[in-house]
């Protein structure tokens, strides 16, 4: 337990000393919301079922944080640890690799929650976006969406031999996740096929959107996220190499 606490505390300090990473992860969704919210019409649109465009857009914005931390920061940081021999050095001590991975997940999880709270608060204050109407459903969709993306990042970290390899896989993957998650183009504007694919690819934005707007998230995509988390997470721990 002491080891876990120390690991989390020190990894958190290391992240804190890298302000570009954590500031971007926490503030970017809110900043994008403020910019787009002030550019586009705040009126309800009958074509969107009487919803405002921004109400549908806001759940997608969290994908920026989850994608940045899970698919970029996490695997690239672990790959650079491997490249510099940090992991190899740790492997000569009684430290357990799973604990290092858990410490990363805890830190990025907490950072994501902070980003989420900020996004909800900014949306509520600046654009009167209602709070998630199904908080429990939202929490489940958020946690599963986050862990499924982090599992992808962990697997990437586990198999990428170098910093460069991790980066060259992480960047395009990040763009795909952002696109399907509706960050570049609101999901209502995506073709049906892509939207359906986006329902089932991490982090499962439709579930976040449903829970925010009041309907319980659908079970199938949530189950999909859970399966991705467990399968890829287990694969990551099994294939994890110190060197």
């Amino acid at each position: 337990m002491k080891e876990m606490r120390t690991l989390i505390a020190i990894e958190a300090k290391l992240l804190f000393r890298d302000p570009i990473t954590w500031l971007a992860a926490i503030a970017l969704p809110s900043v994008v919301l403020l910019i787009f919210g002030s550019v586009f019409s705040p009126e309800p649109d009958p074509a969107l079922g009487g919803q405002r465009w921004i109400d549908l857009f806001v759940p997608s914005l969290l994908v920026i944080t989850l994608g940045t931390l899970g698919i970029q920061t996490l695997p690239i940081r672990l790959a650079s640890y491997r490249e510099k021999g940090v992991l190899r050095r740790l492997s000569t001590t009684p430290a357990h690799p799973a604990r290092l991975l858990i410490a990363q997940l805890v830190i990025y999880g907490v950072t994501s929650v902070i980003a989420l709270v900020l996004l909800i608060a900014v949306g509520h204050v600046a654009f009167a976006i209602p709070l998630p109407r199904d908080p429990l459903g939202y929490l489940v969709a958020f946690l599963l969406g986050m862990t499924s993306l982090f599992a992808i990042g962990l697997l990437l970290a586990a198999v990428a031999p170098s910093n460069r390899a991790a980066t060259s896989i992480a960047i395009p993957m990040f763009f795909v996740v952002m696109f399907l998650g509706g960050v570049y183009l609101p999901r209502v504007m995506l073709p049906d096929v892509l939207r359906r694919i986006g329902d089932f690819t991490p982090p499962g934005v439709q579930g976040l959107q449903d829970a925010w707007l009041g309907t319980a998230p659908q079970l199938a995509p949530l189950l999909g996220m859970a399966i991705v988390t467990v399968v890829l997470g287990a694969l990551a721990v099994r294939t994890f190499r110190w060197e």
Binding site: I10, G85, T92, P94
Partner: protein, 320 residues
Amino acid sequence: MPFARTVRDAGAMNVIEVSDLTKRYGDRAAVDGVSFSVEEGEIFGILGPNGAGKTTTVESIAGLRTPDSGTIRVLGLDPHRDRQRLRTLVGVQLQESELPDRMTVREALELFASFYDNPADPHTLMDELGLGEKRDTAYRHLSGGQKQRLSIALALVGQPRIAVLDELSTGLDPQARRDTWDLIESIRRRGVTVLLVTHLMEEAERLADRVAVFRDGRVIALDTPAGVVSLVEPEQRLRFRPSAPIEDRLLTDLPEVRSVQRAGQTLVVTGTGNLIGAVTATLARHEVIANDLRIEQASLDDAYLALTGNRPARFAKELS
């Protein structure tokens, strides 16, 4: 700093026993039938040129690599099978192993201390290793010597019974190297057995009680540093300008002469025994005078180079 060499009695316990260790990478045997044992409390040097199998051997001892054949016992344990237990008993300092850029000295030591049940106090260790003033300095801002000391501190923070130090003075300036040597002597005074990997004869001579000299994956000499030097027949070198042309064969036929080389007008004759007497007698018989005659004797470095199969690179002591 003066220190007393520990007296090794016949009953001293072997803390490391390696027998017939072999490790192949593809067709090439990196380590080929290596055997040696290390007694408790000694500084044991593993000496040899790059690629001789030193690192593979110590990494097998540390449980980082699995040997193809042969057995290793470290404190009675198998490094591969009992790896988890050994990790608390053996502290390892690896080649080319860094820390996160922004991690401070204190954080690194506290983190590594948290891995062990009964760690050394990080603050005491920092002071002992001269890192007290650098405790809040980020890793990337440490000098090479400070990084090396931190690396040693991390190998010691778990209070290990054996410390494995791999090429720890490589890339250090002479002062930092000497400081590191003092440090290793102080580690031994704590009762920790030290396995020291180095390609520097000087380092092994200064620190090690015994050395195993590696070449092409084998141990070619296993003795005290002085014993290793005495294995090599002292070689001499004559350097002179002959007053008249002389055929190499006249000299190479002499039993004392090992080789004759020409550098411009200068002849360099290497050999053993009464080299100068044999050569000058031959020259005199052919009415040749040896101008600017100089005699050079081999140094300890040359003994090492001779053992590891390289030509002597330089002659330290010159007698004219």
